[in-house]
C-alpha cells in the first residue's frame, strides 16, 4: 500500500517535470516558428504613378521599365499604376500613404500639386515628382534637364544640314520640352548664327499628325528634325524614311534626332538617326531610393542633368566615321565639356 503510494507520487512528480519540459519545448518551437516566418527586415516599398499608358513607347513606358529594373537590383517591392488622372492622383497617393509605402513617385509634371497636398498630411512616406522644375514643401522634384544634350544635338545638326534649316517637333509646349527646343537652337546658333530653326507642337500619341508636320518641314527644305513626341515619334521616322527613299542619293538626306530614350536603333530610319538626347531614368530612381533608404532624402528640386550622367546625348555608333565625321564628334564632345564646365549656361 505504502509502496504503491510512493510509486504514484513519483509518477506524478515525473509527469509534472515532463509537462514543464514539454511546455518549455512548445514555447521554444513557437518562438522559432515566428522568427522563421518574420522576414529578416521590412521590405522597402516604392510606387510609381503614371498618367498615361505603360505601353506608350515613351515617357511612361520608360519610367515603368526603369523602376522595375531598379526594384530588381535593390530587391524592392514595386507597385506601378497607369492612367491616373491628376484628379484621381490624390486618392491613389493617399492609398499608398495608408499602406506605408516608403517612396511614391508621381511620373510627370501634372502630379506636382497632388503630391504636395498628400505629402503635407505627414506620415513616413516620401514623395517625389518627375519632370517638374518647381520646389514644393515635403517633396523632391526630379528635374530632367535635356537642354544640355539638346545643345549638343543642335551643334551636330548645324554641322549636318545642307540647307541651313532645322526643325523641332514637340508633343506639347511644357517647360521640359521647350527647354529642349531652346537648347537645340542655342547649340545650332553657336555654329551658325543665321541658321533657321522652325518649331511646331503636335501631340504625344498621334503619329499621323507628327508625320504630316514632319512632311511639311521637309517640303520647306528642313533637313534635320529634332523630335520630342514620345509615342508619335514613329510618324516622324516614317516621314524621314519616305523622304530619304525618294531622294535616293540625288539630294542630301534628311536626318532625325531621337529623344528621352535612345532611338538611334529604330528600325524605320536608324540609318538617318545620328543621335538621341537620352534620359537614364534608372540612375535617377536608384539614387532617389538610396537616399530614402539611408535617410538622406531632401525635399526640393533635384537637377538631373549632364553633370550626373542622367541626361546625355548619345551618338549613333553605326554612323560615326561616316555621317558623323571625326570633326563633328569633336565639336559635340567640346560642347559637352563646355556645358559641364559651366562655360555655356542655358536658360
Amino acid at each position: 500500500m505504502i509502496g504503491s503510494n510512493v510509486e504514484r507520487q513519483m509518477t506524478q512528480a515525473a509527469f509534472r517535470r515532463h509537462r514543464r519540459e514539454a511546455l518549455l519545448l512548445a514555447v521554444a518551437a513557437l518562438i522559432a516558428l515566428v522568427a522563421a516566418v518574420r522576414p529578416a527586415r521590412a521590405t522597402f516599398k516604392v510606387a510609381l504613378i503614371c498618367s498615361g499608358s505603360f505601353t506608350d513607347g515613351g515617357w511612361n513606358q520608360q519610367g515603368r521599365a526603369a523602376i522595375v529594373r531598379v526594384g530588381r537590383q535593390l530587391h524592392l517591392h514595386v507597385s506601378a499604376v497607369e492612367h491616373v488622372s491628376p484628379v484621381r492622383a490624390v486618392n491613389v497617393m493617399r492609398d499608398y500613404l495608408m499602406e506605408h509605402y516608403n517612396l511614391v513617385i508621381g511620373h510627370g509634371y501634372e502630379f506636382l500639386m497632388p503630391a504636395a497636398e498628400i505629402a503635407a498630411e505627414g506620415g513616413s512616406t516620401k514623395f517625389a515628382v518627375c519632370g517638374a522644375d518647381q520646389a514644393q514643401p515635403h517633396i523632391a522634384t526630379l528635374a530632367f534637364d535635356l537642354a544640355g544634350p539638346s545643345y549638343q544635338l543642335g551643334v551636330l545638326a548645324a554641322l549636318l544640314t545642307k540647307s541651313g534649316k532645322l526643325g523641332f517637333i514637340g508633343g506639347q509646349a511644357i517647360p521640359s520640352v521647350v527647354a529642349c527646343y531652346r537648347g537645340f537652337v542655342a547649340g545650332a546658333r553657336s555654329i551658325n548664327p543665321r541658321i533657321t530653326v522652325a518649331q511646331a507642337y503636335t501631340s504625344w500619341d498621334q503619329p499621323a499628325l507628327s508625320r504630316s508636320q514632319a512632311e511639311a518641314f521637309i517640303q520647306q527644305g528642313i533637313d534635320v528634325i529634332y523630335q520630342n513626341v514620345d509615342a508619335a515619334s514613329r510618324g516622324v521616322f516614317e516621314a524621314v524614311r519616305r523622304a530619304d527613299e525618294s531622294r535616293a542619293g540625288q539630294q542630301s538626306p534628311v536626318y532625325v534626332f531621337g529623344s528621352n530614350r535612345n532611338q538611334n536603333n529604330n528600325t524605320t530610319c536608324g540609318a538617318f538617326t545620328p543621335a538621341s538626347a537620352v534620359i537614364h531614368m534608372g540612375l535617377a530612381f536608384r539614387r532617389l531610393v538610396r537616399a530614402v533608404q539611408r535617410g538622406n532624402f531632401k525635399p526640393g528640386v533635384v537637377p538631373e542633368n549632364m553633370a550626373d550622367g542622367v541626361c546625355v546625348a548619345v551618338l549613333n555608333p553605326r554612323l560615326e566615321g561616316t555621317v558623323i565625321t571625326a570633326a563633328m564628334q569633336r565639336a559635340v564632345a567640346h560642347a559637352a565639356e563646355r556645358l559641364r564646365n559651366g562655360k555655356i549656361r542655358l536658360r
Binding site: 499608358s53 513607347g57 522652325a198 500619341d205 512632311e215
Partner: protein, 329 residues
C-alpha cells in the same frame, strides 16, 4: 513621290487628300448607318480597334492586306455587338456608342500591351516589318502629269478605294432600290414594315457596313500613313466624322467636300506653323509671335462655324437614334 512636290500648293493639296482619306472612309460608313436610323457615336472606338487590329495582324502575318482585312472584320464585329445591344436590346444608341468608345480604349491598350509582351518574350521588335505596311502607289502614266499627277495619282491604295466607294454609294443611294430602302429605314420604318422590309435586319447590316468602314479607316492610320500604333492614336477623328456627316446634311457629296475642307485646314495650319520660320516674308515673320495653339484650333473653329451655319434647317433622318419597334404608351 509624296515629298518631291514642286510647289507648296501641290504639297498642300496632296496632304489634304491624305488627311481626308480616313475621314471620308469612316464618314461614308457612318452616313449609311445614320440614313437607316442608327447613330453610332462609337465610331472613334471602332477606328481605334481598326488601328490596333490592323497593326498586329499585319505585323504577325507580314501581309498588309491581312491587316486591312482583319481591321475591317474587327470593326464589323464590334459594330455587330453595338447593333445587337441597340437593335434587339433596345439600349439607348448614344449611351451604347459612348460605352463602345470606352471599351475600345481599354481593349486597344490591352491588345497593344499583350502584343508588346509577346514581342519582348520572343526578343522581337514591335515595329512593323517591311512589306507589312502599305506605301504610296503611283499610277503609271498619270503620276507624272503636272500638278494633278503627284496630287491625285500618287496616293495610298485606300484613297482610290474610298473614292470608288463614295461614287458607288452615291449611285446606290440615288438610283437603286437598295438606296431607297436605306433611306426609308431611317425616314419611315413603318412604311418599310408595310412593304415587308425587315427594319432591324436592315439597320443591322448598315451598322456592320459602318463598322467595316471605320475599321478600315483605322487601318489607314496605323499601317498606311504611319506604320505605327499609339494609345488613342485616332485623336478624336471619329468624333470629327460625326460632325462632318451633319455638316454634309446626310448626303455623300457634301460629306466628301466637308472632309476635304477639314483636311485642307489641318494641312494649312501645319504648313503655317512651318513657313512662319522658313519663309523670309514680313507677314510670316509676324506670325511667329502667334501661339501655336491658335493654328491647331483653326480647323476645329472653322468646322464648328460651318456646322452652325450649314446644318440649321436639316434635322436628319426622322427616325435617327430611335429604337424599333417604338414603345406604345
Amino acid at each position: 513621290m509624296s515629298l518631291g512636290h514642286e510647289s507648296l500648293a501641290e504639297f498642300l493639296c496632296w496632304q489634304t487628300l491624305s488627311a481626308a482619306t480616313p475621314l471620308m472612309l469612316a464618314g461614308i460608313g457612318e452616313l449609311v448607318g445614320e440614313l437607316t436610323g442608327v447613330i453610332d457615336i462609337g465610331i472613334e472606338g471602332l477606328m481605334l480597334i481598326g488601328c490596333i487590329v490592323a497593326y498586329t495582324a499585319a505585323a504577325a502575318t507580314g501581309q498588309a492586306w491581312m491587316g486591312l482585312g482583319a481591321a475591317a472584320a474587327a470593326g464589323m464585329a464590334s459594330a455587330a455587338l453595338f447593333a445587337g445591344v441597340v437593335l434587339w436590346g433596345r439600349a439607348d444608341q448614344i449611351v451604347a456608342g459612348a460605352a463602345l468608345n470606352l471599351l475600345a480604349l481599354g481593349l486597344s491598350a490591352t491588345l497593344w500591351s499583350l502584343y508588346q509582351n509577346h514581342c519582348a518574350n520572343l526578343g522581337l521588335s514591335t515595329h512593323l516589318p517591311r512589306g507589312a505596311g502599305y506605301d504610296l502607289v503611283a499610277v503609271p502614266g498619270l503620276s507624272h502629269l503636272p500638278f494633278i499627277g503627284p496630287v491625285l495619282f500618287d496616293q495610298y491604295t485606300l484613297f482610290y478605294a474610298t473614292l470608288l466607294l463614295a461614287v458607288g454609294i452615291w449611285w446606290v443611294l440615288r438610283f437603286t432600290r437598295l438606296g431607297l430602302m436605306i433611306r426609308a429605314l431611317g425616314e419611315s420604318p413603318e412604311t418599310c414594315v408595310a412593304c415587308g422590309i425587315p427594319v432591324r435586319l436592315g439597320r443591322f447590316l448598315a451598322a456592320l457596313f459602318a463598322g467595316g468602314c471605320a475599321g478600315a479607316a483605322g487601318a489607314f492610320l496605323s499601317i498606311m500613313r504611319t506604320k505605327a500604333f499609339a494609345f488613342d492614336m485616332t485623336g478624336g477623328q471619329g468624333f470629327m466624322v460625326l460632325a462632318l456627316v451633319i455638316f454634309g446634311r446626310w448626303a455623300i457629296g457634301p460629306l466628301v467636300l466637308g472632309c476635304l475642307f477639314f483636311g485642307a485646314l489641318n494641312s494649312l495650319q501645319q504648313i503655317l506653323q512651318t513657313t512662319r520660320y522658313t519663309l523670309a516674308d514680313p507677314w510670316m515673320h509676324a506670325l511667329r509671335s502667334v501661339p501655336f495653339e491658335f493654328f491647331q484650333m483653326l480647323p476645329y473653329v472653322a468646322a464648328l462655324a460651318a456646322l452652325a451655319l450649314l446644318s440649321r434647317r436639316h434635322p436628319g433622318p426622322r427616325a435617327l437614334g430611335q429604337p424599333w419597334p417604338q414603345e406604345v404608351a
